[in-house]
């Protein structure tokens, strides 16, 4: 190879590489669309001829119709926006309180040995029982309003965050703590400037799962008894043999969860920008 040829060679290698990457991306997206078309189209074709199946299983075109009716004319229990806002309100308030409680308790128990020794068994027992059943208790005790749903969400969110915050606190590099102490940090400064940022890698990881739990808590709470919200919408749809209505509510939930996931990932990137760039690889 001569010296003149070399730069051309490099440029062409680069552009070939870029083209290959673009082709790969297009291929992935096309396949995704194909999968969607096969599933939804197959569902439509199999079900649409049989009116009994349409009622029992729902049908994609019917779901789209139902969504359109809800958007344009509102639902039987008020406008669609109101239902989404109610459910989101319950989920978000509960998520914030549950997360805050989880972080505070997790770090406190992780830092103070006495507390973890005293409360460890209680927390293990509480975590072992199926907490969703507490929804019934809360509806009985606090009525059909927001409070019972928020409580259920808190109970569902708390434990995931708590265990991660606790573990994160215990995994803090002891050299970091020793270094900060020698530099003059008080116990509180060590907690806020060393332990909390270090544990955040763990805590953030739990938030993705916890927000899913928050939505589940809100929906199930409404399901068990409520005046408005997506859970009530689903319950009513089920009661009137309206499979399309159940699916339509589910589509809305899915969209809400995706947006929330996006926001949490943003928060993660913002709070953890001190970390080295993640290794290349497929991201789910």
């Amino acid at each position: 190879m001569t010296a003149q040829e070399a730069p051309i060679e490099v440029a062409s290698v680069e552009s070939t590489h870029r083209r290959a990457a673009r082709r790969h991306r297009v291929l992935v997206h096309l396949t995704q669309v194909a999968v969607l078309v096969v599933i939804v189209g197959g569902w439509q074709l199999i079900v649409q001829g049989d009116s009994r199946s349409v009622i029992l299983y729902g049908v994609p075109s019917g779901i789209v119709d139902r969504l359109w009716t809800w958007v344009s004319e509102g639902t039987a229990i008020g406008s669609l926006g109101d239902q989404i806002v109610t459910t989101l309100e319950e989920a978000l308030i509960g998520f914030v309180i549950g997360t805050a409680l989880g972080i505070v308790c997790g770090i406190a128990l992780g830092r103070i040995r006495f507390l973890s020794e005293v409360f460890g068994p209680f927390i293990k027992v509480l975590n072992a029982i199926p907490r969703i059943v507490l929804g019934s208790v809360f509806v009985l005790a606090f009525g059909l309003g927001l409070e019972s749903k928020i409580l259920l969400v808190i109970v569902l969110v708390f434990f995931g965050v708590f265990f991660n915050a606790f573990q994160g606190t215990r995994e803090v590099d002891r050299n970091f703590v020793a270094n900060a102490s020698i530099l003059g940090a008080s116990r509180w400064q060590v907690t806020s400037q060393v332990v909390l940022p270090s544990a955040f890698t763990w805590i953030i990881a739990s938030l993705h799962v916890s927000f899913g739990f928050a939505l589940i808590g809100a929906i199930v709470g409404e399901f068990l008894g409520g005046y408005s919200g997506l859970g009530v919408l689903i319950k009513n749809a089920q009661g009137t043999f309206d499979a399309n209505g159940v699916w339509a509510a589910m589509v809305i939930m899915g969209a809400v969860a995706l947006v929330a996931e996006l926001l949490i990932t943003r928060l993660e990137n913002r709070l953890l920008r001190w970390r080295p760039a993640r290794l290349a690889g497929p991201d789910l």
Binding site: F176, A178, N179, S181, I182, A185
Partner: protein
């Protein structure tokens, strides 16, 4: 000399340190250890692996308490974290979520210095360790040598009269290490704090220190011998090792160190075979 008359910077008297291992059996790391480091003295501690060199530093810093004996720094018994002490760790201990500037200014800010003053003095120290322009980088964006400089600046900014260093350069490549040693000596010369520099590298110890202390093989290590290093300063670490005087001192100390290294090595291999048998 002024240092001779005043109280020693560090004094360990008849110190022993025992730990309880996870299986519950007691383990003696140090015993009957006497060590005095004068104001402004650069003292290197060498010894075979696992002889309790690092334990000694944690006792002086106040991170741990001795089981027996007394540890005093500037005449005051150590009780809790010793004030006026800097500690450079073997592994990176600068906080990865703080930028270089925030890391270096952390010490003063922990101690309640107003933010503006702390940042100003941090910029000054960042410049002195040769990292000007890197203030806003995070530790993972720096090389190993640069992270060590941050750790040095982070400690020196608090103007410690005693600096404890636990194999600070062992993770660096040989050339970076020699460069860092030269820079350490230059920085040390600015304020002349007392230094205890733990290392397993005898060459490094002699090139840097006024005094080299040899520890016996652990467990229950104690001081075997103490050698003055009367090489003139300023020294160039990479060149001083060809000096005839350096070689003489090296041979002298190595004679003392070799038997301990042999003991430690045979112990470690024996423990290995025991473990395999059980």
């Amino acid at each position: 000399m002024r240092a001779e008359k005043s109280k020693p910077a560090i004094e360990l008297r008849r110190v022993a340190k025992r730990f309880t291992t996870d299986s519950g059996t007691p383990y003696t790391a140090l015993r009957e250890l006497d060590l005095t480091v004068a104001e402004g003295e650069f003292c290197a501690v060498v010894g075979p692996t696992g002889c309790g060199k690092s334990t000694m530093l944690t006792l002086v810093s106040g991170l741990e308490r001795p089981s027996v004996g007394s540890v005093t720094v500037h005449g005051k018994p150590v009780d809790g974290i010793t004030p006026g002490v800097g500690f450079v760790f073997q592994t990176d201990a600068i906080l990865p979520w703080k930028s270089v500037l925030d890391n270096v200014s952390a010490g003063p800010r922990f101690r309640g210095v107003p933010k503006k003053d702390a940042l100003e003095s941090a910029r000054d120290w960042i410049r002195r360790v040769g990292l000007a322009g890197f203030e806003d980088r995070y530790p993972h964006q720096l090389s190993g040598g640069m992270r060590k400089r941050v750790a040095l600046a982070q400690n020196l900014i608090t103007e410690p009269r005693v600096i404890l260093m636990d194999e600070p350069f062992s993770a660096l490549d040989v050339q970076t290490r020699a460069k860092m040693s030269d820079e350490l000596l230059a920085l040390w010369d600015l304020t002349r704090p007392a230094v205890v520099f733990v290392t397993h590298d005898l060459e490094e110890a002699i090139a840097l220190a006024d005094t080299v202390v040899v520890l016996t093989a652990g467990p229950a290590a104690t001081i075997k011998a103490r050698f003055p290093v009367d090489l003139p300063r300023p020294r160039v670490v990479q060149e001083i090792r060809f000096d005839q005087r350096f070689l003489d001192i090296y041979h002298q100390i190595w004679d003392a160190l070799r038997t301990e290294v042999d003991i430690a090595y045979s112990q470690s291999t024996r423990l290995d075979t025991d473990r395999r048998a059980s």
